[in-house]
């Protein structure tokens, strides 16, 4: 690739050294150093929460580091915000597209930097510059006048890249760029990355997919728990892709000891409570079959965007079931959330702010929302009785708040999550569908959630509490290994076979999840 870059040696375009960042008590990044050369592609890999996105937010100006320095083309680089970083030449192409769907391609590309005279936009120039930016991609769908909302996701992504190129960015950060692309679009994107390389751009490529990393990148850096981890042989942090195997990369990603964070009582699998055959949703899942028994915790591993959340949502009636058979207890067929609750199933949403909780309402309202029966005569809802029912969970789950009437908005993430969980307990469901139950909560709260899941699956015959069935989605493998009895992997919408937890290890699961 280097032959076309004029005469000089490939220069280091972006360099970050000793970058550290803390959020409260959690260390997001510690002493991280990376560098990307002109014409180079650096892959940044790691599990969710390893610090990849935080690192890239630092270099794109969205987050200020606590310590560390950056250089861009040899000059010190200290962006105060994403706009400054872009102007300096570093652009981040986010996972969630940040386009205005109602406007045309050319307007999107030039948004915020339209050439103008006395406030009047010079459309000719807009068009010209937009055409220049997109002609490189050679994609018939991309015309200056096309409405962005009509484009495929892949083409929309190209519009974002074109926008970055139009302002002359030399460093492009692609964050999980293929997670929502079709195979064809992925190929096209790889082509374009090659071309950008030849033009001497520097690219940071964040991905979960090892096979993509092997194809696209020439160097790879693995992050784990906010630190760069060196390769096992030479301790080198910036590995040559050609010299490191997929297995080695995976080992670096997961190489962590499972602590005794996960209590595991003796569980007895009882009758089948959930049977799914060939389930397919509108997009994801494409194919999913499993059986779940009472007294069992079944984990679903996989990468973000693999379709695990959609799978649970299909089950729970929040998304359409296109195909397949669901049998939940004695009930067959798809059902609305309203029915699912009545049938004894409850879903914990992965997104507690947008969906899981009504933030402006009180703790008591949130805990009791799914069943407002039995709180007063004649179907009335007496706040006093709601509060009484809620207090019991405040104590049992150690939810820190001023009382049942406090609004959920002012609670910490861990306490909010406990409120969301308390709803399932208050409803006393038999089947718990948990989507990322420990996302974004601290270790103490996590430990409590694990303990709770164990207690639910074990049951307590002495107190007359039957064991429950738990179906749990998580992106955090150690957690699944610690909590579950069985585990299955979903990859690109397809759910694989279930394994007993003692039959597999993290490494194998990670390989399956990354599509190896």
């Amino acid at each position: 690739m280097a032959e076309r870059i004029e005469t000089q040696q490939p220069t280091i375009r972006l360099q970050m050294q000793g970058v550290s960042k803390r959020f409260g008590a959690t260390i997001a990044l510690e002493d991280v150093s990376i560098e990307v050369a002109a014409g180079g592609v650096l892959a940044l890999v790691g599990e969710n929460g390893a610090g990849k996105s935080t690192l890239m937010k630092v270099c794109s100006g969205a987050i200020k580091p606590d310590a560390g320095q950056m250089w861009l083309d040899g000059k010190p680089f200290r962006p105060n915000n994403p706009l400054e970083a872009r102007r300096a030449g570093v652009a981040m192409i986010y996972q969630e597209l940040s386009l205005t769907p109602h406007m045309s391609v050319q307007e999107n590309i030039m948004l915020g930097m339209e050439p103008s005279k006395l406030g009047v936009v010079l459309w000719k120039q807009v068009r010209q510059r937009a055409i220049e930016a997109i002609k490189e991609f050679d994609n018939p769908e991309l015309t200056p006048d096309a409405r962005v909302s009509r484009l495929s996701v892949g083409s929309q992504q190209l519009v974002e890249i074109a926008r970055a190129l139009a302002i002359g960015c030399n460093v492009l950060v692609l964050d999980e760029p293929t997670s929502s692309l079709t195979q064809q679009d992925v190929e096209r994107l790889f082509e374009i990355i090659k071309r950008l390389q030849k033009q001497g751009k520097a690219i940071v490529y964040i991905s979960h997919f090892i096979e993509e990393v092997k194809r696209v990148a020439d160097r790879v850096t693995v992050l784990r728990d906010g630190r760069v981890v060196g390769s096992p042989q030479d301790g080198q942090a910036h590995n040559d892709v050609a010299a490191i195997s997929s297995d080695e990369i995976v080992s670096l990603m997961v190489g962590r000891q499972v602590e005794e964070l996960y209590p595991r009582s003796e569980r007895h699998a009882g009758e089948v409570v959930l049977e799914i055959e060939d389930l397919a949703g509108p997009e994801n899942p494409k194919f999913a079959s499993l059986t779940l028994r009472r007294g069992e915790v079944l984990g679903i591993a996989g990468l973000v965007g693999a379709g695990r959340t959609e799978f649970l949502r299909c089950l729970f009636g929040l998304e359409q079931v296109k195909k397949g058979r669901i049998k939940l207890g004695v009930y067959t067929g798809p059902a609305s959330p309203h029915r699912r609750w009545m049938q004894g199933a409850g879903l914990l949403s992965e997104d507690r702010k947008e969906e899981g909780l009504a933030l402006s309402l009180s703790v008591a309202d949130n805990v009791t929302l799914s069943r407002l029966k039995g709180f007063g005569p004649l179907g009335l809802v007496m706040p006093g009785r709601q509060d009484k029912a809620t207090r019991q969970w405040l104590e049992a789950l150690d939810i820190r708040c001023r009382g049942p009437r406090q609004s959920v908005l002012s609670l910490s993430g861990g306490n909010q999550q406990k409120v969301a969980l308390a709803r399932l307990l208050q409803h006393d469901v038999d089947i718990l569908l948990l989507d990322e139950p420990t996302r974004g909560i601290d270790v103490a709260a996590k430990a409590l959630v694990y303990k709770l899941i164990n207690a639910l699956a074990t049951g307590s015959p002495d107190e007359g509490r039957q064991p429950k069935a738990v179906l749990m989605v998580s992106s955090y493998l150690p957690e699944l290994m610690g909590v579950c009895d069985r585990v299955a992997v979903m990859c690109r919408g397809r759910l694989g076979p279930t394994y007993r937890i003692d039959e597999v290890n993290e490494h194998e699961l990670m390989l399956e999840a990354t599509g190896k």
Partner: protein, 328 residues
């Protein structure tokens, strides 16, 4: 901890009462500047009577706004209700109670229609009820053949007494029956919002519709009910309007929906949903009447009243936001 709990409750009480305090302040202001007749019992009764139409319609609107929606058809529904009542009395030979119920039923039907369209077509409430505003107005004009429907005074019976000043022999009632009706309905609505599943589900939908759906709330059904109720309250407001005019007038109450929405918003309702209270709404409606009444008695022209009312709406909401930022 005990101490904390106490201060928290105080704040909460202050929050609920703040619209009442605002009402008090506005009222006292006019007592100071308006002629001495302002603070008399008679004038207060007048204010209460003048608030009733907007106040009753606003009870339903409060629920709609709490659910995160809006209903622009209320003014037209009031007009329709007067026309239907007059038509039933004059041409169908209905008794006063049947006629009144007929008016309310017609109004509720159009509320139901709005609700069904909003949930089935998935068009935002603003658009659906904007359309419904014209549809209902048209229907009212059609029933009245583009004219007022006059009713024989003999057929009215008690229908013209709902908002009239009390005659001496019934002064034990303190307030006209229409005003009492508003008060009773307000208490019932406040209880419905606070103590029933429908009420709690309405708050949940307004606060976060996705959460409500996740928790198995029948979101569509609740919304249809909410708009139906709002229509019915519009119909009751129409009954009051009819009682005052004693004719069915298809051109009455144009723009009334904006006063109704203003009442809810002044009372702390948020157009984003999830917030609002019946007490606040009534106070909001009263504040607007107090301003109107005070300005009239002070001899201010109409345009001054309008400017003041407009300013009050913006100030009230701005204060509300400020208070929210403090407590959040």
């Amino acid at each position: 901890m005990q101490n904390k709990l106490k201060t928290f409750n105080w704040l909460g009480l202050l929050n609920t009462l703040s619209p009442v305090i605002a009402l008090f302040v506005v009222f006292e202001l006019f007592v100071l500047i308006a002629p001495s007749s302002f603070a008399t019992a008679r004038n207060m009764e007048t204010i209460a009577r003048q608030t009733t139409i907007v106040g009753i319609a606003a009870l339903g609107m409060t629920m709609v706004i709490i659910s995160g929606g809006i209903d622009l058809s209320v003014g037209s529904i009031v007009a329709l209700s007067t026309v239907v009542i007059a038509w039933l009395l004059q041409y169908a030979g209905a008794g006063p109670l049947t006629a009144a119920l007929g008016g309310v039923a017609a109004a509720a039907f159009f509320g139901l229609l709005s609700g069904v369209l909003i949930t089935r077509l998935r068009v935002v409430p603003f658009i659906v009820t904007l359309g419904m505003m014209l549809v209902v107005r048209g229907a009212a004009k059609g029933i009245g053949r583009e004219q007022k429907i006059d009713v024989d005074p003999a057929r009215l019976r008690w229908l013209d007494e709902l908002l009239a000043s009390l005659p001496a022999e019934r002064s034990w009632m303190l307030l006209p029956p229409g005003v009492w009706m508003m008060i009773i309905l307000a208490i019932a609505m406040a209880a419905l919002l606070r103590y029933t599943r429908l009420g709690r589900h309405t708050f949940a939908i307004g606060s976060n519709e996705q959460t409500a759906r996740l928790c198995g709330v029948a979101v569509e059904r609740v919304k249809v009910l909410v708009y139906t109720l709002c229509g019915a309250f519009g119909g009751l407001a129409g009954l009051m309007q009819f009682s005052r005019l004693t004719v069915g007038d298809p051109t009455v109450a144009v723009g009334l929906e904006l006063n109704v929405i203003a009442a809810v918003v002044i009372g702390g309702g948020s157009l984003n949903g999830g917030e609002g209270s019946i007490l606040g709404t009534l106070v909001g409606a009263l504040i607007m009447t107090v301003i109107a009444s005070g300005c009239t008695q002070r001899g201010y022209p109409n345009w001054v009243q309008e400017i003041i009312t407009g300013a009050i709406i913006v100030i009230a909401v701005a204060f509300d936001r400020l208070r929210h930022r403090r407590t959040a």
